[in-house]
């Protein structure tokens, strides 16, 4: 197993393994590398959807996503697909976020696989939310350190629901508050845990103050100095740690066809 770092702060390409056939030691190594590097890129992996699910289960229980398009045969897999003949002419995951933060226990990690990859475009960018936090000015750090924010699925997902289902979905997934700065349960690092997709507002401050602070946190995430950019192909798998990494897709591949499949590993309540 060879590890090539992608950036000074995070991200690594792991070479010389076959995800279909992993020893217990290799799984331990991957877990350790994942914690250390936050994002792992694995090339030359020809997995079926079933093998993708099986590989993911090494890291925890998998989530059944409440809203996203699911794979016909594997409900643990969500399908992110647009362009080509799909009739989806837009690609919407083009802002920085961590996955499913509107849940009481958001996922600890996600594992994304390239299935149909355009020749050019459709890269995914990752931001190290720990380094972004550490670069905040002291005043902002102090201002946000004890705050919580409300996360809401509605903003991003309501358009996929029938009107009649909105109320029952609200009951099932009520508003949830998470710390603005989250402590990673294993490494104890502190990271920014707000995003434009799901964070409705910061609790207990007025709207102006909430907007100002959220924008400062967003700007810290938007700095290329704490980011990496991953180019896909149809044998690439990327694992990221949602507790300390944010990511965004890019929509520069349209109208070409792009299909990705994701499994999502359940996590703990943020603190």
């Amino acid at each position: 197993m060879k590890v090539v770092r992608l950036n000074n702060f995070f991200g690594a390409e792991v070479q010389g393994i076959d995800l279909r056939n992993l020893s217990t030691k290799a799984i331990d190594d991957l877990q350790r590398l994942w914690l250390e590097h936050k994002v792992l890129v694995l090339r030359n992996q020809s997995l079926t959807s079933e093998e993708h699910v099986n590989f993911s289960k090494h890291f925890g229980n998998l989530e059944i996503h409440p809203f996203a398009n699911k794979h016909v045969d594997y409900q643990e897999i969500i399908v992110l697909e647009s362009g080509g003949s799909t009739k989806k002419t837009h690609y919407s995951a083009t802002d920085w976020h961590s996955d499913v933060t509107y849940r009481e226990k958001p996922p600890m990690g996600s594992i994304l696989r390239g299935v149909v990859v355009p020749e050019v475009g459709g890269d995914t960018c990752f931001a190290n939310a720990v380094e972004a936090y550490s670069r905040l000015d002291l005043e902002t750090k102090n201002a946000v350190s004890e705050l919580t924010a409300t996360h809401d699925w509605f903003k991003k997902n309501h358009h996929v629901l029938d009107k009649k289902d909105i109320e029952s979905t609200r009951k099932k997934y009520p508003l949830v508050s998470h710390p603005v700065i989250r402590t990673h349960p294993e490494t104890r690092e502190k990271a920014i845990f707000t995003n434009n997709f799901f964070t409705a507002h910061i609790d207990g401050v007025d709207e102006n103050r909430s907007n100002t602070l959220l924008r400062r946190l967003e700007n810290a995430i938007r700095d290329p100095s704490i980011q990496i950019r991953v180019k896909w192909d149809e044998t690439t798998i990327v694992l990221w740690d949602n507790r300390c990494v944010q990511h965004t897709g890019t929509d520069d591949f349209l109208p070409a066809h792009r299909r990705m499949e994701r499994t999502t590993i359940l996590g703990d309540r943020p603190f």
């Binding site: 000074n8 083009t94 050019v120 475009g121 380094e131 938007r222 290329p224 980011q227 890019t250």
Partner: protein, 268 residues
């Protein structure tokens, strides 16, 4: 010469060419690809400083930067060094020397000392960033002008006296907020944080709001590409339609890159 696009909106890697020995046909082809892709990347180009300068002159007259350091015998080369004293350089989105009355049309940067990881440069297509603005914001910025001033960045370490002298020589420049590319006709965002002091003729709050909104558009990864450097990688970009930012992520490793800068025309 082979062309490999890097992302959907910006950048191409050019292979099978030796920049130390180009012919007229190749220079013409590079010019065309440069206009199309806006950022061109060449690998393994072991140029001397003189060859770097000669290559740059194919595209226009080279400037001598009044503030940045240069190697003794090569005033056209800007040395950009990050080390213990300057831990990073150029880590904010910008286009080069926009504080000049006639800012640069393009820059050609060469890697000399490159950290093992980190120090990538990101590039944004400012025309695509402009296309993606809300129509309401487009309307508001379309006919505005911004004031560009070197002293915001290069004046920080100058004495009061020195700054005043330099300001006489390089008075603030007034450029359109949305610039039209003189060759392709594309319209791109032409404001940046290191050099723009304000948008002219509107309230300060409004100016700040619009500048932030424009910067936000530049920051979208969908309009960007990201280039990893190696020693003897050469990247050339079109300052009229591209902004760039170096990553401040490699300290305490050292990074040394060298630039020649091609003089451009007054923005319209």
């Amino acid at each position: 010469m082979n062309i490999h696009p890097i992302t959907g909106f910006v950048g191409a890697e050019i292979t099978d060419i030796n920049l130390a020995r180009t012919n007229k046909g190749e220079i013409q082809a590079i010019k065309e690809e440069w206009l199309r892709h806006k950022v061109l990347v060449f690998r393994n180009q072991d140029l001397t400083r003189q060859e770097h300068i000669e290559f740059g002159k194919n595209f226009g007259e080279l400037e001598v930067h009044p503030f940045a350091p240069h190697p003794k015998e090569y005033p056209e080369i800007v040395k950009i060094i990050s080390n213990d004293k300057v831990q990073y350089a150029a880590s904010n989105w910008h286009s080069d020397v926009t504080w000049r009355q006639k800012p640069s049309m393009g820059s050609i940067l060469r890697g000399r000392t490159i950290p093992e990881v980190g120090g990538d440069t990101s590039f944004a297509n400012t025309a695509e960033a402009y296309n993606r603005l809300d129509p309401e914001i487009k309307d508001r910025v379309d006919s505005l002008y911004a004031i560009h001033d070197f002293s915001k960045t290069f004046g920080r370490n100058m004495s009061e006296k020195e700054r005043k002298e330099k300001q006489k020589k390089y008075p603030p420049a007034r450029h359109p907020v949305i610039r039209t590319h003189p060759e392709t006709g594309e319209r791109g965002i032409y404001t940046n944080k290191p050099f723009v002091s304000h948008i002219e003729g509107i309230a300060r709050d409004e100016s700040q709001y619009l500048l932030k909104t424009l910067q936000h558009a530049i920051q979208s990864p969908s309009v960007q590409c990201r280039i990893k450097w190696e020693v003897n990688t050469i990247v050339m970009w079109d300052n009229r339609i591209v902004q760039h930012q170096a990553s401040n992520d490699f300290y305490p490793q050292k990074r040394h890159v060298e630039r020649v800068t091609i003089i451009g025309t007054k923005p319209v």
